[in-house]
Symmetry: C2
DNA sequence: TCACGTACTGACTACCAGTCGTTAAATAAT
DNA sequence: ATTATTTAACGACTGGTAGTCAGTACGTGA
């Protein structure tokens, strides 16, 4: 009898429905201003029902955040699987992160919460664990691509993959934060394009990591991409 | 008659007393878990009195944050005024930011709030303005030192000071966030020292900005510092 | 038809930011 | 010296929210 299975599916569906409602409300109002009552209303459920599926408002918030993490993971994986040389694919991932930021800004913003552990008092250990795993999955894509570049002699042998990864992340993330907060100010008052700045930063980091061979491969791949784009335009 | 002046001083003193109490409570509990009642108790005042001096809990929090900003400003200014070559002083400021992080961790953590504009709904425009000014003061120190380095031909002419500054900031800040959140994990599980990583990142950025002359000056200044330290130890 | 378990709920509690009418004390005016 | 006025402070209150819990409705299996 498939009753247990059906019930399992239905339960899973409820979890998703609640997540949909929560995503909408959190997106519109942010964590602090969103209320569980409002989420419940959108989900067409009583507030107390939400607590049967998620242990706290913060847990629910993180569950939505992890949806965003899944998107990022997919985009990074795609960027790391183009068949281009590894150095170019490392670069691609910076661009993919930027695309993620532009396409899924609200998910990006949710990471503010994840990164501030002072706010995690209401987060269940289980959810913390899930987040840590999702996090590792994402780092994994970046690290393994950098490792490839080292193995192929395109990055210097003394580059430490996870260390390089956190440097790229730090540069990208910091710049995107500025974009998120006051892109207009940088553009108008300071005449600085932050997207370009981010690319410049990644470039400087890569320059310091690549071998001579890596630099050649990278330049070739960039030119190749340029040519392909021009072809597509005709 | 100095009555008005005395009252003015007393009022200012109250503001400081409240700030002291708030700093203690915020430091121990963070923004969310701290309550205005508790701050009032520490300040030996009624809760409603706090609202005569600060418009909201968030305003009070930012006022404490700005105290921290003042410390950072002083430390950066000191690092930028050692009489060493400008390139070395740019480097110093990264080290100073790190020292600030280690010495005033609780202030550093308060910036999480400042950087998340989603949480600013209760912040008064006046306080926002004050924060923006304090922010600019800090950027100013960094930018002008980088400008010196360019003028002296130690950084390449095509370096844009404010752009370089935001790159350094981004690298430092991102790494410190990781240190703050899970330094132990990086150290033990991944065998990565994040302070070194931060320095390495700054170094890569500088390498990409310095002229040949700048590299020589920088190396000389670093050796000089090393020698001085060895002397001090004897 | 009845007993049981499950999913769900509305009413409730505890708590907290922020407000308001009042009080007490210091200062100014008479 | 006495009264009026301004100022600083406060306690009691409001509105709103996260999270709880006793109870209900309904599908399932006997």
């Amino acid at each position: 009898m498939g009753i247990t299975e059906r019930k399992e599916r239905e339960k899973e569906q409820r979890r998703e429905d609640i997540l949909d409602a929560a995503e909408r409300v959190f997106r519109d109002k942010g964590l602090a201003a969103a209320t569980m009552d409002e989420i419940a209303e959108h989900a067409e459920l009583g507030k107390s029902t939400l607590y049967l599926y998620y242990k706290s408002k913060e847990d629910l918030y993180l569950a939505v955040t992890m949806r965003g993490g899944e998107h990022l993971y997919e985009m990074l994986k795609a960027a790391a699987s183009t068949g281009e040389p590894s150095v170019k694919r490392v670069w691609n991932m910076g661009e993919a992160y930027l695309a993620y930021f532009n396409q899924y800004r609200h998910y990006f913003q949710m990471y503010y919460f994840l990164e501030n552990s002072q706010l995690h008092s209401q987060v269940s250990p289980e959810m913390s664990e899930l987040c840590a795993l999702a996090d590792q999955k994402i780092w994994g894509v970046v690290v393994s691509t950098i490792q490839e570049a080292i193995d192929e002699g395109l990055f210097e042998k003394d580059v430490v993959p996870i260390q390089a990864a956190v440097m790229f992340w730090s540069n990208c993330n910091g710049l995107m934060r500025q974009m998120d907060r006051q892109d207009a100010y940088w553009e108008k008052a300071l005449n600085i394009n932050l997207e370009e700045t981010m690319q410049k930063g990644n470039m400087l980091l890569m320059e310091g990591m690549m071998t001579q061979k890596g630099r050649l491969e990278f330049e070739k791949a960039m030119n190749q991409q340029q040519t392909n784009r021009e072809k597509e335009e005709t």
